[in-house]
Symmetry: C2
Subunit: 332 residues, 2 copies
């Protein structure tokens, strides 16, 4: 017996913003698991800004199944320690089924919380925000914090953690609806729609004494404005640069204010979530507590079916989502 | 009795490159020292790129004596611990004489070396290079290092320290004469005249495997090229941004390559020399040893007389000097 798996292939490297025609949905027959293997049916796949640069820089191969974070359910097992019905988290997204010898699969243990939370607040997205802010950013209680793309999956967690740490928090977003969400639902001190005017002026209004920590998801004009307003010994954890990803070579708009890093002895550091792996237990304990206390909220934007995966990614790059962008590939 | 001191005043804030007419030489009568005071006759004053931003940002006051690093000789003393004939280092440059109660004066103890070395290799310039490279930059043996403005006072020390640490070292400079100096006299592995072509291409030639540490004195186009070629866990100590200092708000040419900081987890940090004060003994021991061993060389460009001070600063900003730019105000 075998199953038919629909998978997403990149068939053309995008020049600028990706379009639907850069992708194709391909059917493939997936065999039954051999001895020592499992068959995984993917349930949710993650759609992340970080997927964009590999489409152009060659890391994502043409005419092959794309990767990406996902949670799947084991539907057949000939593996000694993975059982039918187990959920596993992995990097083999953008496909409905696959077989595996278990390498790269991590069992998901839920504690009453929705499975999807392991795709965002309790998963890599939340860990990125927690580690980037607290480890890379060395956030201290009561500081002045700016988070860009604050209504996004990572940004919304970073902004709320900063609030939990009694910081003054300003967020930027790309629509008035998102700005309302940030202030009214997440409790940020100030938020603004960056499409409506000068980012530098908005930061002067929101953080008149300057910025201690800028959690950067956007780069370019956001970074240019923020670097110029950093205070002494400020930190800039660089999580992402979504404003640059559709440009050739992922080049951002020019940042011209970097001389302020000298006078104010500012640190800017790019980070990747796997650097924090030895702190995962602490991260999970923090997040579960904050969610239980009602201090940390989340939203999900869920599209249905593998055929929506390219649209989900394109939509994400257009800023269509609030919170985490997911695609549901099958029933839990 | 009193002495006549000639002093430099800023009389007009420069718009772009400073010109002679922005400064004026003013004569002033300096009284004999009162009880508890000394009279200092300045001998050498330092001319530094870092003096440029204060001319525009307001830190340097109009129509007042300018400050700046200098070494002076005590020519009259009514102070309990400072004697006639002592040399003192201080921030009261751009003047011939001044009285002081001793605050801000540090005695200079020479050990056979020329007094001028305390203005560069054994002074703040050398300490900036040593601390920026070894502490902020966390240089490790055998790494790939790029130093911009490598024929300048700080750059030439940083480049040589990197060579002493068995690194592959590439330097940039603004003339073919300086490039020859870097390769033939200082022993750099590769050097290039940044005015003659693409900095990114030169870096690919000089450091084909990428950059571990970029010691930045220049900012702008240099930084743009270097950030794009940083290797995993690379460090960028930001010492200065001379390319930006004549621009409004010290804005540099735009840096567009910062997304590489994410993938390669690069750290960029601005620093100021006083951060290293607790390591001064170690710095002096290192430098004296390296100079004695013939591993660390230096050049000085010395102009004569206080009336040359504005020209020295303007010349420095035009890149006229190799090594340290000094003005001699009187005989030792």
């Amino acid at each position: 017996m075998s199953v038919i798996s629909r998978e997403v292939h990149l068939i053309k490297r995008p020049d600028g913003m990706p379009v639907a025609g850069d992708f194709s949905i391909v059917e493939r027959e997936v065999d039954d698991p051999a001895e020592g293997e499992v068959l995984v049916r993917n349930v949710y796949m993650s759609v992340d800004p970080a997927m964009r640069p590999p489409l152009t820089n060659g890391q994502t191969k043409l005419n092959e199944t794309m990767g990406g974070g996902a949670i799947g359910k084991i539907v057949a097992s000939r593996h000694p320690s993975l059982a039918e019905g187990d959920y596993v988290q992995h990097r083999f997204g953008f496909r409905e089924y696959f077989t595996s010898n278990g390498e790269g699969l991590a069992k998901v243990t839920t504690d009453g919380e929705p499975l999807t939370t392991h795709m965002h607040v309790l998963g890599g997205t939340g860990f990125t925000a927690w580690g980037g802010l607290l480890i890379t950013g060395q956030l201290k209680e009561g500081e002045n914090v700016f988070v860009s793309a604050a209504a996004g999956a990572v940004g919304s967690v970073a902004a709320q953690i900063a609030k939990i740490k009694n910081c003054r928090v300003v967020g930027s977003a790309g629509s008035d609806e998102k700005v309302r969400y940030l202030v009214e639902e997440l409790g940020l001190d100030y938020a603004f729609n960056y499409k409506n005017g000068s980012i530098a002026r908005e930061l002067h209004i929101g953080l008149p004494d300057g910025i201690d920590v800028y959690f950067d998801n956007v780069g370019g004009a956001h970074l240019d404005a923020a670097v110029g307003q950093m205070r002494a010994l400020g930190r800039i954890p660089i999580c992402g640069m979504i404003s640059a990803y559709n440009n050739k070579g992922a080049r951002s708009e020019g940042v011209t204010t970097l001389a302020n890093m000298i006078y104010n002895r500012v640190t800017m550091r790019g980070f990747v979530v796997y650097e924090f792996n030895d702190r995962r237990d602490e991260f999970l304990a923090d997040m579960r507590q904050w969610i239980a206390d009602g201090k940390l909220k989340y939203r999900e934007t869920i599209m249905e079916g593998i055929e929506q995966a390219p649209h989900a990614l394109i939509g994400l790059l257009h800023g269509d989502n609030i919170g985490k962008m997911l695609v549901r590939l099958s029933e839990e």
